[in-house]
Symmetry: C2
Subunit: 365 residues, 2 copies
């Protein structure tokens, strides 16, 4: 099977780029002396998980309980469900744990902490700490932190934070600063809990930019990151990786031709409506057009408009192309986590056009 023969739109995953990205992150965290708990929210694939876990302890992070169930079915038991738990989802986790999983949950809510502690078979629980993202979590210096520790009692297994605001950084130096703040917040929280007599085994932090660029994560027991596996235009813009490190692209066909532009069959559904690069140094619209080999021979041709099933690519006048109806090209995504979620499988290549494998994804909830 060759890329040229695939129905479009679909996802192409270049395993050689994926392998390079995994190696880069593995080296970064090895230098820090902290193991990786890869976040599978982006890839949602057991085949990718197996590669990402090479040389790591074996635990993963998940963003949905559908992922947890899927990965348990493929033999992975140590999972951190990194979205605040609810009473209803607690019961789902308890059921999965009774089936052999060892899912860890997170909370920042005192009532929820009490519900967990009162459960006859509670999962291990981490207190979520806000290290500056201002999304979820308690402040490391708050009274609430110690209150949560006391309420959780023996269910307390540690603390976690996510420096998602590192996405506002625009340079390696800024990322180092975010990583430092992330480490300071999470180790401060761990230390306060320990001083209050609570054992804190897990001190979990991470985001792709901070895990990649930190100077020091002493006191942190594991790092979580996900988007680094595939990369995207936004992460390239904020220097998490190079522009040649985008492992996933959307294969599309030309369905219309006009002077200076082409229409393709990858629109808002196949690419997502994510516009994260709008806030980046370079705005790529809804994605950057590459040729069938994944090379930038179309220059700065970008998807300027995205309708449900139509994408309008504005061509780069310095790189004129004359593609007939049905010709195929590839589109690098703005935000890979959003783009891949519309697709149920990856067509895997090794740098060329030959499809070496098909890897499935677990979508939904």
């Amino acid at each position: 099977m060759n890329l040229a023969d695939l129905p479009t739109p679909c996802l192409v995953l270049d395993r050689s780029i994926l392998a390079r990205n995994l190696k880069t992150m593995a080296s970064a965290v090895a230098r820090l002396g902290v193991p990786l708990r890869p976040h599978m929210k982006t890839a949602k694939s057991i085949d990718v998980a197996r590669l990402a876990l090479e040389g790591q302890p074996g635990g993963i992070t998940v963003s949905t309980l559908a992922e947890a169930e899927y990965f348990l079915g493929h033999g992975i038991t140590d999972m951190l469900y990194a979205v605040g738990i609810t009473p209803q989802k607690l019961e789902q986790v308890v059921r999965l744990n009774a089936s052999g999983a060892r899912i860890i949950v997170i909370t920042d809510d005192p009532t929820m902490a009490g519900i967990i502690a009162d459960h006859p078979t509670p999962p291990r629980t981490l207190i979520e700490i806000d290290s500056g993202e201002d999304r979820a979590g308690v402040h490391p210096d708050s009274d609430l932190l110690l209150d949560l520790g006391a309420r959780l009692g023996p269910s307390l297994a540690g603390v976690m934070t996510h420096a998602g605001h590192s996405y506002t950084g625009r340079s390696v130096r800024e990322m180092e600063g975010f990583a430092q703040a992330e480490r300071d917040a999470i180790t401060r929280a761990a230390s306060r809990l320990r001083s209050a007599g609570h054992p804190v085994g897990i001190v979990s932090a991470g985001s792709s930019p901070t895990a990649r660029h930190a100077e020091n994560f002493a006191g942190v027991t594991e790092l979580r990151a996900g988007v680094y596996m595939f990369g995207d235009l936004f992460q390239a813009e904020i220097e998490t990786h190079g522009k040649d490190a985008i492992a996933v692209t959307v294969l599309a066909s030309v369905i219309g031709r006009r002077p200076g532009r082409i229409l393709v069959d990858a629109g808002g559904l196949a690419l997502s409506k994510d516009r994260s690069t709008e806030a980046a140094p370079h705005d790529y619209g809804f994605g950057l057009a590459l040729d069938l080999d994944g090379q930038p021979s179309l220059g700065s041709a970008i998807v300027r408009r995205a309708y449900q099933e139509h994408g309008v690519i504005e061509l780069d006048p310095r790189h004129p192309v004359d593609l007939p109806i049905g010709a195929k090209l590839r589109i690098a995504p703005n935000h890979t986590c959003m783009t891949v979620a519309a697709h149920d499988r990856y067509f895997v290549v090794n740098g060329g056009r030959e499809v070496a494998a098909i890897w499935h994804r677990v979508n939904g909830w």
Copy 2:
């Protein structure tokens, strides 16, 4: 089964609102004397298709060949695939037509028209006309129109256009203007082709706003529309329907609480990253929060930030609520076509909280 018991996030479809929306559109097109070929790109469900087809001739519009295969499997044969055809997809259509479908395709490209005409069993083909959207299609006064007609020969079945630029309209009066321009363009194209000796049986036009608000579609043989079935905040803003006519919402659970806001488990994946209301009179962020009954008791609480699995709802200080972790609410979408695509089923209610049915969707390509 009750909404309060469903795992979140998931889609809630209120059949009573859907029925009202279908009736409103059926009345609008009946007044115009033009039958409807409902566009199933939004609902992608046979259960919805059956309701939308009541009182109509029985043909539908599809946006993917996955939809075509699915609807054929459910007994619908008359389908217009309303995205420009490619040589590869032509073969898929021919195969489906050999299995009993009667799929009509569209093109605006002379080379593609020749490929269709040269096929031993070509599908009926419409020439796509640009009535002002500037996305695809030929100008009704162009030489290319007659060239396409000549190339298609006996495969030519008619003309089609989509006034998607009606989405830039902001009032009923503007929509009437877009509808007039849409009608003028498509009937002009039909008339020129007929004068050149080509039979033009199908004159297909439509978008939800223009089908709803047109004064006159004389000469048009069918109208296509899709989003009117479910509605959304954007369509409400541009007066395609009332604010109480949004049939689909996302059910979500509270996963975090902070002063003035709540965190829910519906983020960019469950809601989509669509920001269409950014350009509307009222910007709803990533969606408007409603209570579990779908009522606006939270005032103007909107999803201000959307992460992959987290949505941050800014509460309306005039409508304070104190929702515990796990409490459920519903979120009206900006752009329903994008939001529903992340989900594989609808939990159907009849105005209340009792789930009367589960209807499945066909996603992907």
